[in-house]
């Protein structure tokens, strides 16, 4: 799946949790949770939202690899079929 489509999906899910955040303003290489104030419940809802939107299974063991926006895009692109 194309990185841009994944990025758009991330933006849509993030907007439901932190509506004030403009995805374009985020540094894709910096830790997401330092830039967007997401508590553990917010982060869980974020993962659930990505799972529902992209049909990608995201095991908890993989959370540690999902630090920056760039990490997330790479991970989801690789996981997503097609």
């Amino acid at each position: 799946m194309e990185a841009n489509a994944v990025r758009a999906a991330i933006g849509q899910v993030l907007a439901t949790i932190a509506p004030e955040v403009a995805l374009d303003a985020l540094d894709p290489a910096a830790p997401l949770r330092d830039q967007v104030d997401l508590d553990s419940m917010d982060f869980l809802n974020f993962i659930v939202g990505l799972h529902e939107r992209l049909q990608v299974d995201i095991p908890e063991a993989d959370y540690a690899r999902l630090v920056s926006l760039g990490d997330l895009v790479d991970y989801l692109v690789a996981k997503r079929p097609g």
């Binding site: 509506p19 004030e20 955040v21 104030d37 508590d39 553990s40 419940m41 993962i47 908890e60």
Partner: protein, 403 residues
């Protein structure tokens, strides 16, 4: 004839302003019907009635700002006997004094009004944008957001900052934005009043201890590995359950101090401090916490966080916490020394879990550790009992499968 009174929504909300009636004399109402919309410092709420009957008279005019417990309307032909406890607003002093009171629904329930104002739940401004606006001296009320759903982004603030040079500040405050700003200010005042009262009246004592979370973390990792993402559990659920069980064991930390004496609560309703994205916090009760299993607590917590941020809480949740828990979570710092929320007598805090070198059984390991704290009311309990309470929380978290 039943007098229907304005319910309390917690110790810090002692007044409400009638926005509108949803009923008129002669209307037949049933349990759960919305009879009025009342504005409090935290939200506009729908007030529901828990008696069936016919509206006889409306005793207030829209715009009236009245104390909790003021009669709002009278109902005739009520379908059930009028019990003292059922007639009393949930926040009134009699509430906890009547542990044998009705076990059914609270006399009143409150749900958010379909208010014409934009929901305060999401004043869509990031902390960074708000900070920048403050630096630039721009009123947030004047900003139009260009982010998703009208969210104000930092770019909007910058743009307004450039445009505002030379312009009269805050000249174009919209009524809706002004109402939001007013409510935020009111919430801050409400928190200030409750916390000032706490610090004035309650002789706090403070305890803290480090709790190893190795077993709890391992248990969660195992449990969550088998679960779909939608059924995963957060550490917060374990902390809440352990706190509830310890509160049941040490009743002098669970209840209310009112009228110069302590009223222990037979029920454990842990209030969970939930921060709001735009600032401020609310600590609604996770009802009957000690009787829920961890999965039920997780589901209830997720629901409570969602509804709190949408200002969709019931009166019973706002007025009933018997002890409060504040959890700084992963993005916080190690220790919180919290302020008791009156008339409660204790508040438990959990800091950010961090990796620590831990010595146990003559071996040194790196494990996650959380600092748990207790602030409690010295009029009711002593440090010795408080320490036993915290130690019990620690012990409970060493056997997570039993929570």
């Amino acid at each position: 004839m039943i007098e229907f009174k304005l319910p309390s929504l917690g110790a810090d909300m002692d007044r409400g302003r009638l926005l509108e009636w949803r009923v008129k004399p002669g209307d037949v109402v049933k349990r759960g019907d919305v009879v009025a919309v009342v504005d409090t410092s935290k939200a506009a709420i729908d007030v529901e009635v828990w008696h069936a009957g016919t509206v006889h008279a409306l005793l207030l005019q829209p715009g009236d700002d009245v104390p909790v417990g003021t009669a709002m309307l009278t109902l005739s032909g009520a379908d059930e006997p009028v019990e003292a406890a059922a007639q009393t607003a949930p926040g009134a002093a009699e509430r906890a004094a009547a542990p044998a009171g009705p076990a059914g629904p609270a006399p009143l329930a409150v749900t958010p009004a379909a208010s014409p104002e934009p929901a305060l739940g999401r004043r869509r401004i990031s902390p960074a944008a708000r900070k920048r606006a403050e630096e630039l001296g721009i009123s947030l009320d004047t900003l139009a957001g260009t982010g998703p759903d009208g969210a104000v982004t930092i770019e909007d603030v910058q743009r307004a900052g450039s445009a505002a040079v030379g312009a009269a500040p805050a000249a174009a405050v919209t009524p809706a934005a002004a109402a939001i700003a007013e409510r935020m200010s009111a919430m801050r005042q409400t928190i200030a009043a409750a916390m000032a009262r706490s610090k004035r009246e309650i002789p706090h004592y403070y305890l803290a201890t480090e709790i190893p979370l190795e077993k709890a973390t391992q248990w969660l990792t195992r449990a969550n590995a088998e679960r779909p993402v939608t059924a995963r559990i957060l550490m917060a659920a374990l902390l809440i359950k352990a706190t509830a069980l310890a509160a049941r064991k040490y009743p002098e930390l669970n209840g209310f101090y009112r009228g110069g004496k302590f009223e222990p609560s037979a029920e454990v309703h842990v209030g969970v401090a939930i921060s709001l994205r735009q600032g401020g916090l609310i600590a609604p009760a996770l009802l009957a916490t000690d009787r829920k299993n961890v999965d039920e607590i997780m589901a209830a917590l997720a629901d409570l966080v969602k509804r709190t941020r949408a200002f969709s809480l019931r009166a019973s949740e706002l007025s009933q916490p018997t002890i409060t828990l504040t959890n700084l979570g992963e993005q916080g710092v190690e220790l919180v020394q919290a302020v008791i929320y009156p008339p409660q007598v204790a508040i438990v805090g959990f800091g950010k879990p961090i990796g620590r070198a831990w010595v146990e059984d003559h071996s040194l390991r790196l494990i996650p550790v959380v600092t748990a704290s207790l602030a409690a009311d010295h009029r009711v309990s002593d440090g010795h009992r408080g320490a036993l309470f915290l130690a019990h929380v620690r012990d409970l978290l060493q056997e997570p499968d039993k929570l």
